[in-house]
Amino acid sequence: MTIREGYEMVVGLEVHTELKTATKLFCGCPNVFGEAPNTNVCPVCLGLPGSLPVLNRGAVELAMAIGAALGCAIRPSSFHRKNYFYPDMPKDYQISQYDEPINVGGALELPDGSRVGIERAHLEEDTGKTTHVGASGRIHGAERSLVDYNRAGVPLVEIVSDPDITSAAQARAYAAELRSILVATGASDGRMEEGSMRVDANVSVRELGDATLGTRCEIKNLNSLRSLQRAVDHEAERQSELVASGGRVVQETRHWDEGAGKTVTMRSKEEAYDYRYFPEPDLLPLAPDDAWRDRVTAGLPALPAARRATLLGLLGDPTASQRDQVLSVVELGLDTMVTSAVSAGVEATLALARVANEVAAIEGTAIEGAERLDVAGVVTVLEMEQAGELSATQAKAVLADLAEHGGDPRELAARRGFEQLDAGSLDATIDELIVAFPDEWTRYQQGDDKLAQFFVGQVMKQTKGQADGKAVIAGLARRR
């Protein structure tokens, strides 16, 4: 499934992200996910007659943070009404930014070095959620529809890319990088499955070398990075095959059917709405002053690209798999563990490997709200391993204990009996075993290296696993 040879795709993404504010965009209702339907509502977010919106300062700040992180110009802006009838939109219009968005221009550099321009990133309100009860689960043929307005009025930022994306993999990489940035700025939790980050893809194709853009289709319902990549690939294939066989792409909105693995028509251009945008008279223009803008910009945390560069710098000459580890460690936001461990004297390769594998695995299975591994604890475990106080196996076990119980890693190690074996007692054990197994020792001395593992096993048995295998082998070699 891929684009036909001789064609290229042109893709632009529109990403909607819910902002992690305490309250909704225009009222004081809590901005939380997963409550009982229609419990986080008030006259304002229900759009009751006579109610009026009041802009949430926190949402503006997060929107500016996103703009600053994407290198946008933060501009004086205003709100418009986007008018169309839909039952999950309480006022039957959406308050959004139109010709004067708060963030304009900007770019995102992807890990592979490619660059995708950002046209704008503007503030708007989310709609409620409709559930269609009936066979199809869609509006047509539903027995009835239920609307939950808890999400109505939740703040969104819509980030519109330039049509700079040329492959499905790049589309995925863009969305992944954007998600890392949104999480890093604290603007969003970036959870695509819960809909807190939603992606629409505008896809068109053209013959290689053609300068004009083809007719585009907008694909909706892309709720995972995998869906995004598959849908873009599929749509580019569909369009290129259509064009190659003499057909014409019709501008329309298409729906990604994950199960069927294809896009299907949702509504055509003729059915497109005339949104009748006009300035929202209930809100004043939004013009953040320089001081506010500077404060938000100055408060930005280190962004993923810079954090990747930091880790790569620590490694010196990273391998391909270490580059992948760096990518995933930063995407998971675990890179401070690596840098802290390195500052404490742990080798970068060891720190990266443990964090990218064991720590990442633990964090990946952590349930929402569960205690995450704390940086200090992880650093202590890595220091102990670096110093030879813990073997690799022991270090992994202590990390697991740390995740489960928390506490002081040294106590956890002690509780497991991972007391440090001093060099003297290890030597004594080796000497005892040489005496106890003279035949095996002789064969080892004659060059049968496999016997080393036999002695390691015996040492582990004697010491209840407290010895470091490498130290045992070194001890044996010295006596050979």
Binding site: P43, L46, G47, L48, P49, G50, S51, L52, P53, V54, L55, R81, N83, F85, P87, P90, K91, D92, Y93, I139, S145, V147, D274, R276, Y277, F278, P281, D282, L283, L284
Partner: protein, 473 residues
Amino acid sequence: MTSAIELAAAVRRGDTTATSLAEGALAAIAAGDGAINAFLHVDAEGALAAARRVDAAVANGEDPGPLAGVPVALKDNLCTRGVPTTAASRILEGWRPPYTATVVDRLVGAGAIPVGKTNLDEFAMGSSTENSAYGPTRNPRNHARVPGGSSGGSAAAVAAGMVAIGLGSDTGGSIRQPAALCGVVGFKPTYGMVSRYGLIAFASSLDQIGPLARTVADAAVCLEVIAGHDPRDSTSLREPAPSLLDALHDGVKGKTIGLVRELVDGSAPDVEAAVAASAVTLRDAGATVIEMSIPEMRLGLSAYYLIAPAEASSNLARYDGVRYGLRVDADDLTTMNVATRTKGFGDEVKRRIMLGTYALSAGYYDAYYGRAQRVRTLLSRAFAVAYGRADLLLGATAPTTAFELGAKTTDPMAMYLSDVFTIPSNLSGDPAMTVPFGSGADGLPVGVQLLGPARSERLVVAAAQVLEDAAPS
């Protein structure tokens, strides 16, 4: 008839009780409203409960506030928690808001007793209160005549003496024109002076709540109570309520008042005569009256009938049958939406929704809505120039005295022209007040209008007081 200020003073002194005033208002409504139809809903229980609270406060030695025990009427586009609020539309029949408008909270906080909800043109769209889904209101001075609109119910209730003060809303003249036609004072404050939170929106950038009262002083005290910043309304001015009562007797000595040709031209001779007489009164009181022309005012009506319907088409979209109010069931969503709105809205509301939808449509926006906004800017600039020469402007409030029921219902343009003198102040957002000043040939009241620049409420009430003191009976 006793003024609101006198009634409140009597209650605060303990000379009378809020309960007896509320009972009096309820009795007056019961006796007189059958013929007038000023009220859509009378909340006797709520009124008496509020009155008892005021009386208890007085008994405890507390001061219930400057409107202690004063019966007030609320235009039925102001939300009142648990009390039916319809905007005179079928589409909101039976709806009881879960919250109360800021202005109503403030009135009650000042001791006022809301006795009921008054009739209006549906969603405040009209100039005669004939566009109500619940029947027209009649002018208390002559039951064959309209009370004006859209705040015709509040104007009639005040004029008939059922209540001392009524609240109205003014989008293109909807406080001032009915006040003039019923012979009472009507005050549209500076846009943003009074919170719109809880006012069912018609045209958000033009709507403003204000008082109707029998005296300038009563209107002033009411505005003092309801004005001032409200954090729930982003367009509300970030300043406290103006102090007006202490400006009532400032007079107009040394002030320049511009008699604006465009605010008189086209009015009936008796109205024109009343305006001329009011100019003489102001001159006699020490003002310099100059004649002025503001030609841009002639463009106001056209701009208004694009901007107001455009905003209305969006504001009224939410009445879709999904969440509250009327729902006409149907097999699918769109049919339900259409059937509900077809049945729920009256003709004038539908006309304006269509006008506004058209004005905002792709391909027409610049020619209609965009151009109307430019006219609005032009008009505001013209006002600014005028206020460089004059402190206040003077003109007629409405072109005629109250007209007969049915006289203009078949001719929307004729009806729209009733607001030609009031619309400019809504477009500029400036304050304007109508004061009764004599009668027309038919013996019905004539109102003259004072206009001032933004935040000039103190100047406006001072001049209005001069006119009230000298008004021919």
